[in-house]
Symmetry: C2
Subunit: 290 residues, 2 copies
């Protein structure tokens, strides 16, 4: 099945009309933010959010501010990860990284500002029941904090994850998986589905995050520079722990297949009547080549 | 009048028991966060929040998660401002800055994590009516985004503020003033006071932010290294635009006196029956020596 490009197009159109600066003096900051935010990509996190809304019987567009906020958070994390003091990556999606294009100071601030504006967008512009909206926004905070994305990046740069597959799984589940799963979970919280369904969607989302990362690690080895938009093999050169370094390429591919099956199974449990867009994204994540 | 040290002590006790990491692997990140968060200081923002609650007839302790979040945001902003790519300050509150003590990568992440955990703390642990809480948290997002704190830091590092007193005022009102005034405004929004009172408190808070900055600029020239916890005169060495560089020291002192009077007047309008703690903080901010 193919990626739900109709949802991606809705996301892109919404992102393109976003403006952050209320005056001319901070236009330079806004420019750096939009440079990274509008650099393209599959928009997996916001499309997941829209697809989850569809699976729950809601209009996908009804969660657009939340969806856009997820992409803004993702964009902020890439900007900070690419900084010289972090992964020191000069290329991102085939273009100079934010700090190469705008300088390190602006890149730090563009990331900080995208994160702030993401929260502002959810809290001030996402419609919904206030208590549910609070729960969704709190999940975004938790998913991006010490026990989520930033904690995962810490484990990575400080090489602080435990040894072995468990440590690798913890690192990835925090660094990448938690925001992927938040893209599903925040929409569930906003919708207010009952606890049993929430747990089932959460299990699907967590496994989807694992699948995403295994495939990401494989692509870093097998993908071409052009497809990835950055030099392939960068994980190995940086001595990063990946599913490939830990298990070898063939075993990693087998793990990806297992994870794909588990993710589809978890989705079937969460959405017994089917959830077409979520199924398509799951298959895309398993089969993607960049 | 003296600073409300009882409120500061409550804040310090609350901050000291905060923990962020749910496991041993991210303790190193938590350590860097707490190093900066617990470095002391007057805790002006959280104390302002508690004092505002008192002025509105609420128990100060009832807004403690919000108050702590304000200090965490302030702490994050100092960590990022001190980075080599930004102001490149090695000293903060008399100790090595976060990046000197923990490295640049951890300092970036410690700032990011403090910001995330600040939102999590408000959204998940601050009691209150959900709709009001949303409004308060949205104000924190706006106050720290492009049209608030981070935008102000951008105007500073990119030297992008307009020329003249207006530009200086815009720079400062964003960089420092907006978070100071949010410390009052968020509590008003959480309390749900009616629009007229909200506007009156907002006017007080905005002027208090201006007062804070004028005094800050004066202290950078007149304060001793020991009192400031960092080398005095750093604004001038970095060629920063300040009230002193713009107007000269004597005129800046006169402006501070004017602003003090205006702030007290605005407070009297907002709280016609008196607001002892807010009056004490206002006088302290006008008269402080560090």
């Amino acid at each position: 099945m193919s990626y739900p490009d109709d949802l991606r197009q809705q996301v892109d159109e919404y992102l393109q009309q976003l403006r952050f600066s209320d005056g001319s003096t901070t236009e330079g900051l806004e420019q750096a933010m939009l440079y990274s935010l509008l650099a393209g990509g599959k928009r997996i996190r916001p499309v997941l959010a829209l697809a989850t809304a569809a699976a729950l019987g809601d209009e996908p567009a009804s969660v657009m501010p939340l969806a856009a906020a997820l992409e803004m958070v993702h964009s902020y994390s890439l900007i900070h990860d690419d900084l010289p003091a972090m992964d020191d990556d000069d290329l991102r999606r085939g273009r100079p990284s934010c700090h190469v294009a705008f300088g390190e100071d602006l890149a730090i601030l563009a990331g900080d500002a995208l994160y702030a504006e993401a929260f502002r967008l959810i809290l001030a512009e996402q419609p919904g029941d206030p208590a549910r909206l609070l729960a969704a926004a709190a999940e975004l905070g938790a998913a991006t904090g010490v026990n989520g994305m930033v904690g995962g990046q810490y484990l990575d740069v400080a090489d602080a994850a435990a040894a072995g597959p468990e440590g690798l799984r913890e690192l990835h589940s925090r660094k990448t998986g938690r925001l992927i799963s938040a893209s599903v979970e925040c929409v569930c919280l906003l919708n207010g589905i009952e606890q049993g369904s929430l747990l089932a969607y959460r299990a699907f989302a967590a496994e989807l995050g694992v699948l995403f990362q295994i495939v990401d690690d494989i692509l870093d080895v097998t993908g071409s520079d052009e497809e990835l938009g950055k030099p392939s093999g960068s994980d190995e050169r940086q001595g990063k722990r990946t599913y490939v370094s830990e298990f070898g390429l063939e075993r990693a591919k087998a793990l990806a297949e297992d994870s794909h099956a588990q993710t589809r199974h978890a989705l079937a449990v969460a959405a017994p009547r089917g959830a077409e867009e979520l199924e398509r994204i799951t298959d895309f994540i398993a089969a993607r080549e960049s």
